[in-house]
Amino acid sequence: MYSASDLKKGLKIEIDGDPCMITNFEFSKPGKGQALYRCKIKNLVTGNTFDKTYRSVEKIKRCALLSRDFTFSYLDGGNYVFSDNATYEEASLTDELLGDLKNFIVDDMQVEILFHNDRALDITLPNFVEMVIAETEPGARGDTATNVMKPAKLENGYEINVPIFINEGDTIRIDTRTGTYADRVSKG
């Protein structure tokens, strides 16, 4: 357990069974009154934020978060199934939890999954992923400008802007943190 005086910005705590993070913290002590610890807290499962004031006598539950290495295995309906590199245990993540990242998951991809107890909270992909262009207007021959962009579609249907010289069948590298084109790996 934490004491209220241990609280600080960035600390992860457990409230009603949910992992939460303190996003803002202020020490307050009015007049002759008791020390109060005013926190803005984010629920790491729902993403909701709320205010909570702790008194110095209160105890706060610690939150044990664990990160493990996984390999993408297969798609099961809307769920993405990964297998633990050490134990081969499977973890199934919903597309809701993955958000936009689901567009960049490829076979055998190495990922890191963050767990609270047995509940997956977050996933980290490699910074770059290579994917093939399925559909795009042909670019003008010899035009190698990288600042003129056009829409393209990946094999999975995800739409992305690419430089004008990229053609169907080209393999490109995508920055998974921003979801944008990084560079060309090879021509199709």
Binding site: F27, S28, P30, G31, K32, G33, A35, T53, R55
Partner: protein, 286 residues
């Protein structure tokens, strides 16, 4: 930061001293290392060898009043364990002054004059708001007569203080519930409250004042009650300062104010944290 807090502090201190000298006050020095700190429920003293560092010069000032000094002031460091935040520092500069044969309303008048003198740009429109009225309006209940310490502290911080910030300028919360009187005397015509006020400027608590309690029997009773409460909270219980209680019997009716100099400096500089105001303050704190 486009100001030099060292120079600002020097200018502020010169004006503060000038004000008190002109008003005929004696500047006093009292011990920093003391044998026993004043018993207050939520103020913890830093140990210093077999002594403590003072949390306030109050006990000595009252002994000086009892000895016949009628107008005294002191500016000096006070120390409070575990207090660190944008508006707190465990070592801070306190201005404390007392007048014999005065009460908290006299002290309010003097405080208004002091602020106008040392911070000429400050707003001169002061609001005086009874604690009961402020709580009824901003928190929906009256703590006088139905005091609940936890509810009082939390509502003060979450509801009342933000409302005072919203009002802006100087606001004086006056007549605290008797349970939160600390060392203030009971208001003669209103036994549920004590003659205590706190000055807020732009929602920042700046000064605390009392019509001082001069009844040693009542003071001992409050100390003993406080000792019991501290014990229940697992806090260190400081021995009662018998010299202080003896002096209290000889002390004239008096008013006293304690004002946080670092916060005054912060407000005058237009800052919202003590970070830039306290020399050599480490941002990580502690």
């Amino acid at each position: 930061m486009d100001f030099d807090s060292i120079v600002l502090r020097d200018a502020l201190m010169r004006r503060i001293r000038a004000f008190f000298y002109e008003c005929g006050f004696t500047e006093v020095e009292t011990p920093l290392r003391i044998e026993t700190p004043c018993l207050e429920l939520h103020i913890d003293a830093e140990p210093s060898g077999d002594h403590f560092l003072r949390t306030s010069p109050e006990m000595f000032h009252k002994q000086l009043l009892a000895a016949g000094h009628e107008k005294i002031f002191e500016v000096g460091k006070c120390f409070r364990q575990g207090e660190f935040g944008p508006l707190h520092h465990p070592e801070y500069t306190m201005l404390e002054w007392y007048r014999a044969n005065a009460d908290y309303m006299d002290m309010l008048e003097e405080t208004t004059a002091l602020v106008a003198r040392v911070w000429p740009e400050a707003s001169t429109s002061w609001r005086v708001l009874a604690v009961s009225d402020a709580f009824r309006e901003f928190a929906g209940w009256d703590p006088a007569g139905s005091y609940d310490a936890d509810r009082f502290d939390i509502d003060l911080v979450e509801k009342v203080e933000p409302a005072l910030k919203e009002l802006g300028g100087p606001v004086v919360l006056i007549d605290y519930p008797i349970e939160a009187a600390a060392l203030a005397r009971r208001k003669p015509d209103h036994p549920l409250v004590a003659e205590r006020w706190e000055l807020y400027i732009d929602g920042i608590e700046l000064a605390n004042a009392y019509s001082e309690l001069t009844d040693p029997v009542e003071q001992r009773r409050r100390f003993e009650e406080c000792a019991d409460q501290r014990k229940a909270l697992g806090k260190e219980v400081y021995p009662i300062d018998e010299g202080f209680l003896q002096a209290l019997a000889r002390m004239p009716p008096s008013g006293g104010v304690a004002l946080g100099v670092d916060r005054l400096l912060m407000l005058a500089a237009g800052e919202n944290s003590l970070d830039a105001m306290i020399p050599f303050r480490s941002p990580a704190g502690r």
